[in-house]
Symmetry: C2
DNA sequence: CCAACAGTGAGAATAGCGTTCTCCGCAGAT
DNA sequence: ATCTGCGGAGAACGCTATTCTCACTGTTGG
């Protein structure tokens, strides 16, 4: 044991100070990678970029990339997490204008649906696109990324339950998970699901489906 | 023009006969690839096999593979289509024991859910696993593969509508699409969605969700 | 000012995988 | 018996992710 534990505080502080600048630059570099990747994704409307592209775009080096990220999947995860988190905030803001719990839920579902569609020209063309891949390869991390949205929906559902507007036998959190999956994935595949002559599924339909189900209420 | 159009019938027949055997062998070879791939998928519980593995397993050659398939995606598509089609039949059979339209739907939803889960040890561990990837790269073909299931659900929903057990404002076909997406994708991600302490989502919950939605009926 | 040094860029090297190509033997038709 | 074309074996190619090498630069401690 080289008494590393009880180093005098002044020394720790000195080290920290000397490290601070390095850490700062490192964060900036990470951010440049993230920005570059986001830009490329937005441009191409797909997540099928190469690490090289990101490196060139960010004017950094491959080595740097792999020093900052464990691999491409970590970059994607970071972007995914960020996008979902920001979307959750956006949805929360939009829903705040509604006072009725059910109306809030409707806003949330509709907006989430719109945000999850592939490429309604730019803005946030992330989401369910590569989520499926990650879902298979890194389920745990995806769950973490989903957390903000689940939390938001759970919150809204709980409020609805307290206002007695929710079916009494349901647990908000579990419904939240199902709603999120449903909305995001239907949005993702709405393009593929439609017939040539059929319109794509709309946000309203999804809302109706989630809220009411399909069985006629007696 | 080398008068290929008005060849005498006998010659055509001769050609056909000579081709017949070749076609037969070709089909057998295709089947061997399919079987090998299915076996590998079943064993590994994933679709991340290499073309090489399939080739070796089927004791054929790479060249043969690419003569029969346009690429790996076509093999996957074929398996996917086959699995969905067989599942549709299986569901139809299981549902046939129910006489009430809604009960039939419940059986269908529950069974589809179980069939769509990743790896409930062997049987049919296909489905939504790689569907997402294909959904992005070959949406049209995926739609074709989905057709049998959509048709089945549409049929059941239509029967329910005729028995006045369906909300009157809904179009069976569109609901069928949403139900299918919902059930299959929730099943797929049920593993990832659960908390360590939370149970995974169950077939019953999914059915309740699809059938009833979450809003309390006045 | 100098010398060690940690961090970084440039880009060559490696490795896995899908896909293509080349060569060659063999079975069936003429 | 020869010709034709399918199909096997596997080398070769191209693209990516990932790792490795090396030289350079700015910082730090003396």
């Amino acid at each position: 044991m080289t008494s590393a534990n009880e180093e005098p505080a002044w020394k720790q502080r000195a080290v920290e100070r000397s490290i601070k600048t390095a850490k700062l630059r490192a964060e900036q570099r990470v951010q440049r990678f993230l920005d570059a990747a986001q830009a490329i994704i937005t441009e191409k409307g797909t997540t099928e970029f190469t690490v090289q592209e990101v490196v060139e775009r960010s004017k950094q080096s491959l080595r740097s990339f792999y020093l900052q990220f464990d691999g491409k999947h970590e970059l994607l995860l970071a972007l995914f997490e960020d996008a979902l988190s920001k979307s959750a905030e956006q949805i929360r803001a939009a829903a705040a204008t509604e006072s009725d719990p059910v109306a809030r839920l409707q806003v949330a579902v509709s907006l989430l649906f719109e945000l999850s569609r592939p490429d309604p020209n730019a803005k946030r063309p992330l989401f369910s696109d590569f989520a499926p891949q990650l879902l298979i390869t890194h389920p745990t991390e995806v769950r973490v990324a989903h957390a903000p949205l689940i939390a938001l929906l759970t919150e809204f559902l709980t409020e609805a339950a307290e206002a007695d507007e929710l079916r009494a036998d349901l647990q908000p959190r579990r419904v939240a998970a199902m709603v999120m999956q449903t909305v995001m994935f239907i949005a993702q595949s709405s393009v593929a699901t439609e017939d040539p002559d059929n319109h794509p599924i709309t946000a309203d339909e999804v809302w109706e489906f989630c809220a009411q189900g399909f069985v006629r209420q007696s």
